[in-house]
Amino acid sequence: MTKARRQSYGAKGAPYGFLLPAGILFALFFVLPIGYALWLSLHKVEVKGLGLGKGARSEVWAGLTNYADALTESELLAGALRVLGYGAIVIPVMLGLALLFALLLDTERVRLAPFTRLAIFLPYAIPGVVAALLWGFLYLPDVSPFYYVLDKLGMPQPDLLDGGPLYLALSNIAVWGGTGFNMIVIYTSLRAIPAEVYEAAKLDGCSPLQIALRIKIPMVAPSLVLTFFFSIIATLQVFSEPTTLKPLTNSVSTTWSPLMKVYQDAFGKGDLYSAAAEAVLIAVVTLAASFGFLRAANSRTRQGNAR
């Protein structure tokens, strides 16, 4: 440590120099836009007279009225609830499946593991838009094999793109696309557990199920926290899947998710000020949810260590 501190002046400036490109990009594409969004969210346009001519439209201070409007707007709240319902399906199912598949891959004498691992990981390579598009067609009665089978069996054909089933249809796309990536993250940390740990457990008479529940799952807890964390962020920001399904059904509105509402207000209506306030609110909720989750996860691990 003392050795590392004895550096020349060049070495002292070096890290700052190395971080310069990241710093400039961060200022231009993160700090500046966020600052601008905050500024916009606190302003509104005031129209004088007929709104014609130079100086007739001017930006004036609006205080928190944009936020108050956004918070009392029913459609934004409805979108937030829709995303909440969607996340309540996606996150447990996706991470549950990812953990299950990772544990199965790590089971003794399982066959075809490399093939199945690659197959389950494959959807990660497929863009969300294309995934939504593929599943969208599989949900369409005219072209779907599922409807064909149901038809032959004489069973009723549900409308997957409307009402409650729409949530399942959308969730399925996210589960399909995300399970493999999370499985790999969990599986990789499973493989990093030293073999001696299992041998000791086996000598003590642990069954594979007990090993999975009592040893494997607790030891991959950090990976589970990481996958949870990224899943929460991704879910709150769902945009491309419902947008892609929109042309196939009338049940997905242009304001289905909060992000779609922001887009609609900014570019559909041209009301940048309300859009900025909504975007800031979404960011605050995302940050609160992420930090709240990390905090809870941290205190849980600390408790676990203390035991």
């Binding site: 231009l28 004498r109 399982v110 497929i126 990789t188 940390s189 922001v262 887009y263 975007a279």
Partner: protein, 310 residues
């Protein structure tokens, strides 16, 4: 996709005593060990998972072979006769704009990931190797960037780029994606694990400049991790939809995701375009799947879980 740094798991060792599967054979845990060679239930469950993941891909492969009329009239998993015609129609659509979209995606993802990896590498190296004032602050501020919803960034980014007269340009999709907080995070983990402090110190003793030490000594050591960062960025940019959706209006500059989306939007009015959308979707996933199969060996996926062995 195997993890080269992870130790071999006990499943490779020749223990044949335990029950074949976790939680699949109740009663055998304490009872006599079953001597089966294959863990049947786990294998079957994994195959089921694989089938679920491959099914839509299989469907699009078959659907792309159908002509417009076959798509709605024949059994969905029965191949049609129209594949070459579909590809011809797709290529002819608006003077081959489809292939322009593919080229654009390759450009955005290729150049974007390369620049992004370079910035991640140098930032991650600086954060991992040097002890300097404000290091943790810089890192934490960068990481907060991961949490920023793309839309809170994208809308004002659009307005700012509009002021610089840069919207609807290749730069408007490329520039905002160069700095990736997650890429910096990965590069930092990897640099900390792969570049020993002694080696950097030895370079200094030899009188090499800090820049030269980074380029000649540290960078080669970081290559396996940087391949992962590159691939991660490549996939992220290739799959990106929101930013080009907001930034671009000229469809000659669209990436493939946005192109297919607009095609689908038009297709909902004219079902004749469905075959084009389906064929286009198939051809759009082929390059990425091929890329995956070819370079999966070079992925060091343990990096993604933060489980790098030091």
């Amino acid at each position: 996709m195997s993890a080269p740094h992870a130790p071999v798991s006990p499943s490779a060792s020749a223990t044949r005593k335990s029950a074949p599967a976790a939680g699949t054979t109740p009663g055998t845990a304490q009872g006599p060990p079953l001597r089966r060679r294959i863990a049947l239930v786990p294998t079957a469950a994994l195959l089921l998972g694989a089938l679920y993941c491959l099914l839509p891909v299989l469907w699009v492969v078959i659907a792309a072979t159908k002509s417009g009329s076959e798509l709605f009239s024949t059994f969905t998993f029965w191949p049609g006769t129209g594949f070459t015609q579909n590809v011809k129609d797709l290529s002819a659509y608006r003077d081959g704009v489809y292939w322009q979209w593919m080229a654009n995606s390759a450009f955005y993802a290729g150049i974007g990931a390369l620049l992004s990896t370079a910035v991640s590498a140098i930032s991650g190296y600086a954060l991992a190797i040097y002890r300097f004032r404000g290091r943790e602050t810089v890192f934490n501020v960068l990481m907060a960037g991961v949490l920023m919803p793309p839309v809170i960034l994208a809308v004002p980014q659009y307005l700012l780029l509009a002021k610089a007269d840069l919207t609807d340009s290749y730069a408007s999709v490329l520039l905002p994606l160069i700095l990736s907080p997650y890429g910096v995070y990965l590069a930092r983990i990897y640099a900390a694990a792969a570049v020993p402090a002694d080696v950097v110190e030895a370079g200094r003793m030899d009188g090499a400049s800090e820049w030269r030490i980074f380029l000649r000594v540290a960078l080669p050591m970081m290559v396996p991790g940087l391949v992962t960062v590159f691939l991660f960025q490549f996939v992220a940019i290739w799959n990106n939809f929101l930013l080009p959706y907001i930034m671009l209006s000229d469809d000659e500059k669209f990436p493939i995701t946005l192109g297919l989306f607009t095609l689908l939007e038009q297709g909902s009015n004219t079902p004749a375009l469905y075959t084009l959308v389906i064929t286009g979707a198939l051809l759009a996933v082929v390059p990425l799947i091929a890329l995956f199969l070819v370079i999966q060996r070079f992925w060091s996926l343990d990096l993604l879980s933060g489980a790098v062995k030091s």
